[in-house]
């Protein structure tokens, strides 16, 4: 009984890590540019599809195709920023939100029209599929273990990046005050493009990690809508918050799916979200949103 519960928590943590990674993408972009990217899930879906195209057709070894698809998504993220986001910067949050929603529609439609991707569900072959690791009496599938390890690695990497590199510190400066950063000689626009690149690359990693669990299909980006509560619960501007929020959502979903009646699982993320918002309107780690006059 207790073991079963632990097993649930473990798989919840694994899924929660994916939510956390997608939420991380939201947070990166939001922190730097105050744009909420509703197409983050679709970026993730594209990343998974590119990896599928590269590795699924047996052209390249798996790890090489993963690296290539992450780089490719980084480039796509940058192109998207330059093409549609930069022209509307400075407009009300509503217009930018609508643009990213439009992007999401566009990407989903496009993916289902690309030959070989289509409306079918694909299986991304991974070297670690179907393996399980015994931890005492618990069994952890290798896929879940890889997710958890990669998420930890990503967190350390991003932390080091923001802490120790010049460009990372510049991004922090921009997220605190764009105008001041501009005065300090930071090329704000170019750094923002880079933020989109990083965010899209993180999304691609999340997509590849998620692929063995939910398979690859044009609607897999809808998981982005689950990552939203994760980002909001953590407080929208906080990177550790995103991961913590993702873990909370993942665990709550796993537990409610097992012990509560049908259907609760699908909305549990949103119920947790509403509860957190009622208690703390800016999330757990959120910054205060008030305007000085």
């Amino acid at each position: 009984m207790f073991n079963e519960f632990l097993q649930l928590i473990l798989s919840g943590i694994a899924i929660g890590c994916v939510y956390g990674l997608v939420a991380l993408g939201f947070v990166l972009i939001y922190k730097a540019t105050e744009v909420v990217n509703f197409a983050q899930g679709e970026l993730m879906m594209f990343g998974a599809f590119i990896a599928l195209s590269l590795s699924g057709f047996q052209i390249l070894p798996f790890w090489l195709s993963v690296i290539l698809s992450v780089i490719a998504m980084g480039l796509i993220g940058g192109v998207v920023e330059r093409a549609v986001i930069r022209p509307v910067l400075g407009q009300p949050i509503f217009s930018i939100m609508m643009i990213t929603i439009g992007l999401g529609f566009f990407a989903r439609g496009l993916a289902s029209m690309i030959p070989g991707w289509g409306t079918y569900t694909h299986r991304l072959p991974t070297p670690y599929a179907d393996q399980t690791i015994a931890l005492g009496e618990l069994a952890l599938s290798a896929g879940h273990l890889v997710i958890i390890l990669v998420t930890i690695a990503m967190c350390i990497l991003l932390f080091a990046f923001f802490r120790f590199t010049r460009i990372g510190v510049a991004m922090q400066a921009i997220s605190q005050n764009q105008l001041a950063a501009h005065y300090m000689g930071i090329p704000v626009a170019r750094v923002n493009t880079l933020v989109w690149c990083i965010s899209a690359a993180v999304a691609a990693i999340a997509g590849i990690l998620l692929a063995p669990i939910t398979f690859v299909h044009a609607n897999m980006g809808l998981i982005g809508l689950k990552a939203f509560p994760a980002a909001v619960i953590g407080g929208f501007g906080s990177i550790p918050g995103a991961i913590v929020g993702g873990l909370i959502i993942g665990i709550v979903e796993a537990v409610s799916g097992r012990y509560l009646p049908d259907g609760i699982k699908d909305v549990s993320a949103y119920i947790v979200l509403l509860v957190v918002l009622v208690i703390r309107p800016n999330g757990i780690f959120g910054e205060k949103l008030t305007k000085k006059v």
Binding site: Y30, E34, V36, V84, P87, V88, L89, G90, Q91, I93, F94, S95, I96, M97, M98, I99, I101, G102, L103, G104, F105, F106, A107, R108, G109, L110, A111, S112, M113, T119, N177, Q178, A218, L225, F228, P229, V232, F236, P261, D262, G263, D266, V267, A269, Y270, I271, L273, L274, L277, V278, P281, N282, G283, E287, K288, L289, T290, K291, K292, V293
Partner: protein
């Protein structure tokens, strides 16, 4: 260009700007009344849909366009109205009683969302309404004893005062009348102090508050009125389709409703109607386009979302003021000819409005 000299404060808040405008709207009204003689059954049915979408657009416009509160879960209010109407009418409650009850149910749902939403702003509000939309959608699927679950509910045509409105023409007139009434209601509301308070809240919450506007009261009121209007549209929608199921009220419907007001033109009542027309005509245009595309592309289900997404992006990029904004520009161009210059209607200042401290 004609100049209107305002000689009294009354003139500022008149229903119509002057007699010419009044005449034009009257002519438009007559044209709409004559539509059943001009259009076939199919296109008249589309016109009814336009009227229904216009009602939703008006409701959402009041909330997002005039009060500045983003709602990503408006389809949920549509669902509450539709399901209440369906449940009541299948139990033999007459339309004149069930319709106000459906509106009241939606208004109550709006109150439930509006109260916690008071503390939320911008993106947090958008996501809270999104969450509400999801919860309603799943509740509709799971609460099978009332909603029929995924099987949905079927409805009979409306019986108004003992007369069944089973023909397309009858329904069209009902939808048109209700759309007209809603328009008049909103137009009057926006001319009143309440409406001015909404607009003040949209433009700056801080200045609105310092002018003595109770934010809590007016934001909740905006949610309640908006969801009540959406509930009205939902009741009509249920009768129009005669079959409702949870999938018709998902998150993508909420986004399409937002597209109505963004494409029509935020912050104008005209925009709700223009957007409703556009969003009804666009699928028809796509259907025509499919006939001219190579078969490999024509039967792709992804074609429609791709075009919807592209159109939405194009509008926000190139005409953020929507169709109505473009119309105003074209009109001004001809009125001022040849003195129109680019950027004439642009706001003087555009700067990043940050929600952050510092």
């Amino acid at each position: 260009m004609r100049f209107i000299f305002r000689t009294s404060y009354e003139r500022d808040i008149r229903l119509f700007r002057d007699r010419t405008t009044m005449g034009l709207y009257m002519a438009l009204g007559l044209l709409l009344l004559a539509l059943p003689w001009l259009l076939g059954e199919y296109y008249l049915s589309q016109a009814s849909f336009i009227a229904i979408y216009a009602i939703v657009g008006l409701g959402l416009m009041l909330l997002s366009g005039f009060t500045g509160q983003i709602s990503l879960g408006h389809a949920a209010f549509l669902a509450v109205g539709a399901y209440t109407e369906a449940w009541l009418s299948t139990r033999g409650i007459p339309f004149l009683i069930s319709l106000p009850l459906a509106i009241a149910a939606s208004a109550f749902a709006g109150l439930m969302v509006g109260l916690p939403a008071l503390r939320l702003k911008g993106i947090y509000l958008a996501i809270a309404t999104l969450a509400f939309g999801f919860i309603i959608e799943v509740s509709l699927q799971q609460w099978e004893s009332v909603t029929g679950g995924s099987m949905g509910l079927t409805l009979d045509p409306i019986i108004l005062l003992g007369m069944p409105l089973d023909s397309e023409t009858h329904f069209y007139y009902l939808a048109l009348a209700l759309a007209g009434l809603t328009l008049l209601l909103l137009r009057n509301l926006l001319r009143s102090p309440t409406g001015r308070a909404f607009v003040a809240i949209r433009d700056s919450e801080i200045s609105a508050r310092s002018m003595g506007i109770g934010l809590a009261k007016f934001k909740t009121l905006a949610f309640v009125i908006s969801s009540a209007i959406t509930g009205l549209a939902g009741a009509l929608y249920a009768h129009k389709l005669q079959f409702i199921s949870p999938e018709q009220f998902g998150v993508f419907v909420s986004i399409e409703l937002l597209m109505i007001i963004v494409i029509g033109g935020m912050g104008s009542l005209h925009g709700a109607f223009l957007g409703a027309v556009f969003m009804t005509v666009l699928p028809e245009l796509i259907a025509i386009l499919r006939d001219h595309l190579p078969t490999s592309l024509a039967y792709q289900p992804g074609l429609q979302p791709t075009i919807f997404g592209a159109v939405l992006i194009a509008f926000v990029l190139f005409e953020p003021a929507g169709i109505y904004g473009r119309w105003v520009k074209v009109r001004t161009y001809f009125q001022l000819f040849p003195l129109y210059r680019k950027g004439l209607l642009k706001r003087e200042k555009s700067y990043v409005k940050s929600d952050r401290l510092s």
